[in-house]
Each structure stands twice: as C-alpha cells, then as structure tokens.
C-alpha cells in the first residue's frame, strides 16, 4: 500500500478538523505520510518525480473513519464483500471502515479476526478493521476472549445490532475490558420494550398501523449502561443514539467525567419518521427514525460536540429481504458511499461548521480506536479526500458500488461529491 513516489496536492482548500483550521494551499506527501501542508509550501517546485495534483476549487480533508459498517464476509458475500465495501467506501471518501462482528461465523474468535485482517490487506483498497463480538456467538451471555481478540487486531467490542440484556454480563465485560484498555460499543435497545416494534412509537406509527418502539427502549438501556460505567470505570461508547432524551443523558454523564462517548447514525441525523411515508422499507432501521425534534437534537449534538461520531451504519440487504411488507422486512440501509454527501446537508443548512462535521466523521472516530488518522498532521498517514462540498447531484442507486442498493437516499438531491480518495498516499478512487 505504501508508495515511495512523493505527491504534491496544490491549490486546494485545506481543512484540518483537529485544529478547526481552513486555509488555501498545498499538501506534500512522502512515503505515504503527510510531510507538510499550508500556504508556505512552494507549489511551483515539487520534489523530483512527484505526482502533482491540482486541487483547484476543491476541499482537501482527512478521509472519513466509519466505526460501523456491516461487511458480508465471512458468510454473507451475497450482500457485501470486503472488496465491494471497500470500493463503496472509497467512492464515498471513507478511508477507514470498522466492520461489525455479525457474520457467519461471528467474529468471536481470534482466528476470524486474523482472517479478516489478512484478507482486508489483500482485497480492500481502504483500511478495513474488524470489531469483535463482546459475547460468544453474540449470545449476550459469556464474554469473548477480549485480550486475545484485541491482540489479533480487533479495534473494539460489540454485539453489533444486538443489545446485552443481562446487566451482570455487561458489568463483568466492562470490568474485564478495562484491564485491557478495550472499548465496548453497545447498541441501545431494551429487547422487551422494543419487542415487535418496527418504527418510532408516535402518532404516525398509530396512523400507519405499525407497532412502535418507544424512545424509552433506548434511554432505559443507556441509563443502565451509564450506571455500570460509573461502577466499573470501563470505556464505553453508545453506538447510536436517536432521541433528544438520550442526548440529555449523555450530557449529564459527560459532565460527570465518565469515560463515555456516543455516536449517531447518518440516518437519524438527516431523516425523520415522516420520510417513511408510504412504507418505504429502506427506512426501516434500528434505531428507528424519530421525529423532527429528535433529529434537530441530533444535529445540535453534533454541532456542540456532545455527539462524538457519525456512522454510516452501512447495512446491505438484498432485495428479497427488503421487498416485503414494512413490518416483515429486515432492518438496515446502505450508507458508506453517501455518508459525506448526506452529512454535508447539516453544513449547507448552516447548522454545523464543516470542521466540526469532519471532526465527527474523522478525528473523533480515529481517536476512539487509537488511530493517527483524521487530521492533517506531519507524520500522519496520508488518508485524504479531495471533494467539492457544493456540487449538486441526484442520487442514482445504480451508480453505487455496494452489492445492495437499499439506500434511503434513492433519488434524493444531495450536495457534495468526492473526486479523489487516497489511502496511505495512494489513490484508491478518482471521479
């Protein structure tokens, strides 16, 4: 993946989310890492043999780091493979993807982590890092080999879209993980409260005649987890919050100084339950889309930094599992390739600054899993994107690289397009 050829990107609008700096200038790459950037670089004298890229009219920023994507390997290659996910990610400006452990077999054994790490190196142009299961067989009962899995390369521990119902299991996992400095990521859904629900519980769900999932299915689990974090001191990340009341709970926990962070799905940040309209099954999601007030709260959470990261929650589903009555179809939507374009909506609506948005899409997620990416810093890997934040387009699902086309932005007007994606100084996508 390393290239020895130096690269010089000139005339670009440089955005460093770490320092919240925007400036025009150049960026020099040597041996796959950022060598220097800013106005001071002499664009007229590139190093010998350098590849010079003209970034005029475009924005150069760190590549996105997505902490939550379902990649079908092993076991569901008909939905997605490492290489199709990698192509979709590269086209969307995502340079690091963390894959979820809900595969077949699940990622609960160091050998599977090892397999994924090696196979990703062969098959993926971008960086694909596996998350491991928190419990064996994702059964919610016995913790996995957290120490050995972490040594093999697992970046954090989660049961994916499953919640740990048993508080004792969660307590011990948090306690044990703390000794290894491991991060636990949890999907917030009280199984009993959410049982049978297929969308947000609201007047709309009543009108549509669909069983609802109350916000309390999320907040009760979140409150429980925060109590357990206070008890154990384990590092904890709430995978995706969806409602204003969760944000208040997070705010209190952070004010208390607990080692807690949280994420939001791009879907809950940019869509609301009304988008379901005529039973659009691509919008059947977990957590469900809430109402506009909740969505507004998510946007404010990103703007204030209370919400640490934005994830794609990329979940490819084939036509057969989505072409069903709403209540019977599978959860999930793809999101890797549209992550940046969709997220830029909150910048275009003047709710979130571009640097702040990019922090939530690159710097903070990189920090959470201990990566040096997500910043324009001398010595950091040159995982970069060159994009036009204003370029408008109408999304045509057929142009997407994912094996499945279940996008919630089918036919949507989006603004912001990635023209080049670079990983370790090498171009992995150009358009």
């Amino acid at each position: 993946m390393m290239t020895s050829r130096p690269v010089l990107i000139i005339n670009a609008h440089l955005v460093d989310p770490l320092t919240a700096t925007e400036t025009n200038g150049s960026l020099a790459i040597e041996n796959g890492v950022i060598h220097a950037w800013g106005r001071a670089i002499d664009a007229s004298a590139p190093p010998e043999g350098a590849l010079v890229i003209d970034g005029r009219g475009r924005t150069l920023a760190p590549g996105l780091v997505d902490l939550r994507a379902f990649v079908g390997e092993p076991g569901a290659e008909h939905r997605e493979t490492l290489s199709s996910a990698s192509r979709a990610a590269a086209a969307g400006g995502v340079t690091t993807v963390v894959s979820m452990p809900e595969t077949n077999p699940p990622v609960d054994d160091p050998a599977v982590v090892d397999y994924l790490v090696r196979r990703a190196r062969e098959k993926a142009g971008i960086r694909l890092l596996p998350a491991a299961a928190l419990t064996k067989g994702l059964n919610g009962k016995e913790m996995t080999e957290i120490g050995l899995l972490k040594e093999a390369g697992a970046v954090f521990f989660t049961d994916g879209a499953r919640s740990i119902a048993n508080a004792q299991v969660m307590r011990r996992a948090l306690t044990y993980a703390r000794d290894f400095g491991a991060l636990i990521v949890h999907h917030l859904e009280d199984a009993a409260l959410a049982d049978g629900g297929v969308m947000n519980e609201s007047e709309l769900s009543s009108r549509l005649g669909l069983p609802g999932i109350p916000r309390e299915a999320e907040t009760i689990m979140l409150e429980r987890d925060i109590s357990l974090v206070r008890l154990t001191g384990g590092r904890y990340h709430a995978a995706m919050i969806s409602c204003a009341s969760s944000l208040e709970i997070i705010a209190r926990a952070k004010a208390e100084g607990l080692p807690i962070t949280c994420g939001v799905s791009i879907n809950n940040l940019t869509l609301n339950e009304n988008d379901i309209s005529t039973y659009r099954t691509f919008l059947k999601l977990s957590p469900p889309l809430r109402d506009e007030d909740d969505r507004r709260a998510m946007v404010e959470g990103v703007a204030s930094g209370l919400i640490d990261v934005i994830v794609s929650d990329h979940n490819p589903q084939d036509v057969e599992t989505k072409r069903q009555p709403f209540a019977e179809c599978a959860d999930g939507a793809i999101g890797l390739e549209t992550l940046l374009s969709a997220a830029l909506r909150v910048v275009h609506s003047d709710d979130v600054a571009l640097t702040r948005l990019l922090q939530a899409l690159s710097t903070r997620p990189a920090d959470l899993i201990g990566l040096p990416q997500g910043r324009l810093l001398k010595g950091a890997p040159a995982d970069l994107i060159l994009f036009d934040p204003d370029e408008p387009f109408v999304l045509d699902p057929d142009t997407l690289h994912s094996r499945c086309k279940n996008t919630p932005f089918d036919g949507a007007r989006l603004q912001g397009r990635v023209h080049m994606t670079m990983v370790g100084g090498q171009i992995v996508h150009e358009a």
């Binding site: 009962k141 016995e142 080999e145 957290i146 050995l148 306690t175 044990y176 000794d179």
Partner: protein, 321 residues
C-alpha cells in the same frame, strides 16, 4: 507435653475462627509450635499424648480431601479420637438446621470440632452454640485460617522471615477464602502483599485491605519473593468471570516466562488442588522453585499446633489457666 509447659504465653483464644482477631504474637506462637510438630511428624514414632482421651469431630459440609485428611492425621498424632462427618452421611441432608446439628453434636461432648461450611459466618454461628473449641477449616469465601498459617510456616522455614518479603497472591481473589486469610496474616507479620488478577476476580475495596492491586501479572510479579497461585474453578472460566482457559492462562497463568520476572530465588506456592495448564504450568508446579508439596506437609504440622494450643482451654485441662 512439649514446651507448652515451659513458661510463656497461653494462647488466648478458645476457638480459631479466622486470622482476623489474632495478634502477631498469637500467630508467631502457633508457627513456633508448628515447627516443633514438624519434627514430631518426621520421627518414626509420630504419636504424642497431648490429646489423649479427647474427642475431635471433623464436620465437613463441603467436600474436601486434603484438609480433612490433614486435620484427621493431626488429631491422631496428638492422640485424640477423631471422627469424620461429611455432608453425605449427615442429617443435614435430611433437613436439619445448622444449629440443631451443632446442638446434637454438642450433646455428645466432643472436645474439638473442626468445621468446613459453604457459607461465610457459619462456623462462627456454630461456635456460639457449642461448649467445645471450634476450628474453622474454611467458611464460604470468608476465611481459611489454617491454610494461611501453613503458608506462613512454609514461607518462614524457607526464607527465614516474613517481614519485608514481597508476596504476590495471584488469580481468583474474589472467591478465595485462602486469599483473605493470607492477606490478613501476611500483613500482620509485615509482608508487602500484592494481589494480581483480572478485575472481574478481585473483590470490591481490596485495595483498602492491605494489598497493592495489579491487573497485569507481569507487573505484579516483578521482584516478588513469593508467588502464591490460587485455584480458578471451572465454572468461572467460560465467559462469566474470564473468557476462556486459553485467555486466562495467557494473561494470568504462571509459566516460566512470567516467573522469570520475579526474584531469581522466588518461591511458588499453591493451596491445591491445582488446575495444571489453567493457573499454573505443569513444569512450574513440579519445578525447583515450587513449595507446593512442602505446603501439604506443613499443613499437618500447623493443624497439630492449633489443636495443641486450643486444647489448653478445654474443660479439665491440667494446663488450664
């Protein structure tokens, strides 16, 4: 009658319910007495008459091989009549309460009762209901005083002292009565005690009980004089407290690589029964640094010492103060 007849301090307790409550002098007195018992046990003629005519009942509510055998031998070597009662044959199976069992046995006029029970505090409860001396042979996750004494005796005989030694107690501290008794005793005698284990196997507040806590065994073993391993029960190693045997052995099992971090003359102990390949590698258990077999020998001596010390409080004792 050994040198109990010599001028000196009378052991000031009627029961031995725990290490908690013993003064350092009490502990040293028992260890000195045990040193003498070692000599007795190494003779061809191992029998003394100290407890001749006395009745000792070993009341074991929890299965035990080595502790029960050790107490039985100790009593017999001191001349007592020893009776073993274990769960299988006792009326507890028929629904009798602990107190009723105690009253029934008391009516048979024993002089010493050795009790092991699965509930913390059960031995104390029983001691309040009987007229004889009671020895705690392990109550729940609370105390196992004779194990701590035999460990101390083993250490003292090999190192010549206890004060100032760095002792690392490793493994399942949470469920271990051995660890609790050892922690109290070793602190009382001035050792520098560490506990080493995953946080899931450490009791709440252990750092305030006189132990320095280590979650990383390599750090915990650094410069240790004594490495004391504890047994991890099978039902706790499959995901409930630790993920697996493989992971436990990798991070918390004693192998030659980790032992090399301790002092070159460090000694290894284990209260038994061992899980080879779980908490301790076989070659270490049988190696030159291992004191594990010596601990068993010291067990009999310490129990003789305890029986002898307590016998002075028995009714009609010629030595009774």
């Amino acid at each position: 009658m050994s040198n109990l007849t010599a001028p000196g301090r009378l052991f000031p307790h009627r029961h031995l319910l725990g290490i908690e409550g013993l003064a350092p002098d009490d502990i040293i007195q028992l260890l000195d007495l045990a040193d003498e018992a070692v000599e007795v046990s190494r003779q061809i003629e191992k029998k003394k008459a100290t407890l001749r005519g006395r009745t000792q009942i070993n009341l074991f509510f929890e299965a035990s091989t080595r502790t029960q055998a050790s107490f039985e031998l100790a009593g017999k070597r001191l001349g007592a009549d020893v009776m073993n009662m274990s769960v299988g044959s006792s009326s507890i199976k028929k629904g009798e309460t602990l107190i009723d069992t105690a009253m029934t046995l008391n009516a048979m006029r024993p002089d010493l009762i050795v009790v092991r029970h699965h509930s913390a505090g059960a031995v104390q409860l029983l001691a309040r209901k009987v007229d004889c001396s009671v020895i705690n042979a392990g109550d729940g996750q609370h105390e196992h005083p004779t194990q701590a004494l035999l460990d101390a005796l083993t250490i003292r005989r090999n190192k010549g002292r206890i004060r100032g030694l760095v002792v690392a107690i490793c493994g399942d501290i949470l469920h271990s009565r051995v660890a609790r008794s050892n922690l109290i005793l070793l602190n009382a005698l001035g050792a520098d005690v560490r506990v080493v284990g995953p946080s899931t196997l450490l009791p709440t507040g252990i750092e305030n009980m006189g132990a320095k806590v280590f979650n990383n065994m390599r750090e915990g073993l650094k410069d240790a004089d004594i490495v004391m391993m504890l047994r991890l029960q099978r039902e706790r190693m499959n995901g409930s407290f630790v993920p697996s045997v493989k992971e436990y052995f990798r991070y918390f099992g004693l192998d030659s690589e980790k032992l090399a971090l301790a002092k070159p003359d460090a000694l290894v102990m284990h209260p038994g029964p061992m899980n080879r390949g779980v908490e301790i590698a076989s070659d270490i258990a049988d190696g030159a640094q291992s004191l594990i077999r010596e601990q068993v020998e010291m067990g009999v001596a310490v129990r003789m010492a305890v029986l002898e010390a307590l016998s002075r409080h028995l009714p009609n004792s010629e030595l009774r103060a």
